[in-house]
């Protein structure tokens, strides 16, 4: 997600309930990114990566991820993330999402609803997509965790990242890391001929189909765990389909 300034009027893509707390981000003289972060903090959710180093802001962190507490339940948790071994000292209640964002400063993974309903926090664990917000970091010792930062770099994009760019498959970009992680797993699931509800819908009289054809309906159903408030779905489906069909 770019941190650069966008043209005026871009704040129209911000959820009205958030922007009402500060009528016009540009007029307030803050960048769009900092505006979003502040608005998110007000909602009890988002916090910038720099927070752990700023004691004054410490209380903005989720419980359990605060760097120095009197809790006796903190423990060392070893995670393998994007190919690197990381050691964290956290309480067991810290979710994988908060561990990534607030402890390791891997802020590519986004916190949307924080309740398993929006998919913004989707990451890959041993190649499978999961919601990082509904799982504890301590549960994943020994697993291979891949976040958006591990899929590609600006100089060497993952094919799915390139496809999202080429097809303009986003507007504000907030859900995009989750969409891309989810879509990468989707392509593997389609290759493995994993079933979906759409597979049954396309089948005659309830029989399990022998082969699954790539279709917009299949991709829409399989991406239904990732919401996009900007409504970029048409282009998201096009990007995912292009990669799934090897045309990206």
């Amino acid at each position: 997600m770019s941190s650069g300034k966008r043209p005026r009027g871009d704040s129209a893509t911000v959820d009205p309930s958030i922007s009402s707390r500060c009528a016009d981000a540009d007029r307030c003289g803050v960048s769009r990114r900092h505006f979003l972060q502040a608005a998110g903090c007000a909602a009890g959710g988002l916090a910038p990566a720099e927070l752990p180093a700023q004691p004054a802001m410490r209380d903005a962190l989720p419980l359990g991820a605060r760097p120095a507490t009197t809790s006796t339940s903190q423990r060392i948790v070893r995670l393998r993330i994007n190919g690197a071994d990381r050691e964290l000292t956290i309480e067991p209640r810290v979710t994988l999402l908060d561990a990534l964002r607030e402890v390791l400063a891997l802020t590519g993974t986004k916190k949307g609803c924080d309740r398993g309903q929006c998919g913004a926090c989707t990451v890959l664990v041993d190649g499978r997509r999961i919601n990082a917000c509904l799982t504890l970091a301590v549960m994943h010792e020994g697993s291979e965790i891949t976040t958006i930062e591990g899929l590609g770099t600006p100089d060497a994009l993952h094919p799915m990242q390139a496809a999202f760019l080429a097809r303009d498959a986003f507007q504000c970009g907030y859900c995009t890391p989750g969409q891309i992680c989810s879509a990468v797993a989707l392509v593997g699931e389609l290759k493995a001929q994993a079933l979906s509800a759409a597979t049954f819908d396309a089948a005659p009289t309830g029989a399990v189909p022998r082969t699954i054809a790539i279709s917009d309906a299949e991709i829409r159903e399989r991406m239904s765990g990732n919401l996009c408030r900007c409504g970029a779905y048409v282009n998201i489906v096009a990007a995912v389909r292009a990669v799934a069909e090897g045309k990206a």
């Binding site: 919601n131 989810s182 493995a192 994993a194 509800a197």
Partner: protein
């Protein structure tokens, strides 16, 4: 989320020992428990992580049925070759539930033990919920109750069990295998989840500290003809308003055996054996379908906002049975 201790169980025996401690809760996929903890609805003091127990296999049984380990993930179960071939109804119900991400996390045991619930149960700001706080009342009775139960409810609770998998398991006559300090026992799916009565805080017949180790399915005569129909407000990723698991064994144009269970209508998967029996011994036609619907919905007591569910259930039963029958 409250501060909580965490232990990773390395054996079933260790899990059961830890699970007997006060304030302990088993942690599997976490998709419901951690969500409830975030909402301060569940407040365990010890999480017993059962994810690494050796209970993640699907195996065939000598008499032709299968045993599904409690830690099998929902997505793996739907895609297991034996399930796809012999129990397509279960596969179809599984992929009708939640999202791909959640199905990758959720386990069979955890799916069974997700809380029977409604919006009011989930909102700890609302005082009246007998399921969350016994004796506090039920906000849904006179509140927004469009999604609530039409069958088997009580004045204490009108919540529904949201699992799709459980509806298929009820239709397929599964047993839940549980283990506790007293040893192992089997509970028929039809009795595993409870009706609310005046103790809606208890969703299942599981005793405190007991651990689900497996689900067993008998051989199924329904592999060729089954259908799981889920009717919901969105095309995907929403709980059922009404769902129907229907399966038929038809020989020479006559129904030899039938399975019928509904979701979204009661505190537990709603299977009525008398409705299955009325379908048997004759061709499936509009008359027998109507008779089966009558038996399923006998005693339906809709609330102010959900009377539509009665007619919706009637039509969904007909559609599911006709689809299961196919055009042959």
């Amino acid at each position: 989320m409250n501060d909580v201790d965490y232990r990773r169980a390395s054996s079933v025996a260790e899990a059961i020992r830890l699970g007997a401690e006060p304030g302990a809760a088993y942690l599997a996929g976490g998709t419901n428990l951690i969500d409830l903890m975030k909402g301060h609805v569940a407040l365990p003091t010890l999480l017993v992580d059962v994810n690494r127990l050796p209970l993640a296999a699907v195996t065939t049984r000598p008499e032709g049925g299968i045993r599904i380990g409690a830690m099998v993930r929902n997505s793996d179960l739907a895609d297991h070759p034996i399930v796809r071939e012999r129990y397509p109804l279960l596969a179809q119900a599984l992929v009708a539930g939640a999202s791909p991400q959640l199905r990758n996390m959720a386990t069979v045991g955890g799916n069974l033990l997700q809380r029977t619930r409604c919006h009011y149960f989930y909102d700890a700001e609302i005082a009246a919920c007998n399921k969350r706080t016994p004796g506090s009342g039920c906000a849904a009775l006179e509140g927004r109750n469009r999604i609530h139960a039409i069958l088997g409810a009580s004045d204490a609770c009108v919540a529904t069990h949201p699992s799709d998998m459980s509806v298929a398991l009820a239709a397929l006559r599964a047993d839940v295998v549980v283990q506790g300090a007293e040893g192992e026992r089997r509970i028929a799916m039809a009795r595993f989840h409870r009706l609310p009565g005046d103790t809606p805080e208890r969703d299942t017949e599981l005793a405190p500290g007991e651990l689900i180790t497996a689900v067993e399915l008998p051989p199924s005569p329904f592999a060729a003809r089954s259908h799981y129909l889920k009717v919901r407000d969105r095309a995907s990723y929403a709980f059922a308003l009404v769902s129907v698991a229907a399966a038929l064994d038809i020989r020479d144009g006559s129904v030899r055996d039938a399975a019928l269970a509904l979701g979204g209508v009661a505190h537990r998967p709603w299977r009525v054996v008398a409705a299955e029996e009325v379908l048997v011994g004759k061709p499936l036609d509009d008359t027998s379908i109507a008779a089966a619907s009558d038996r399923v919905l006998a005693g339906a007591r809709p609330l102010r906002e959900n009377a539509f569910k009665v007619e919706l259930a009637r039509r969904a039963i007909a559609r599911a049975l006709q689809t299961a029958r196919g055009n042959t």
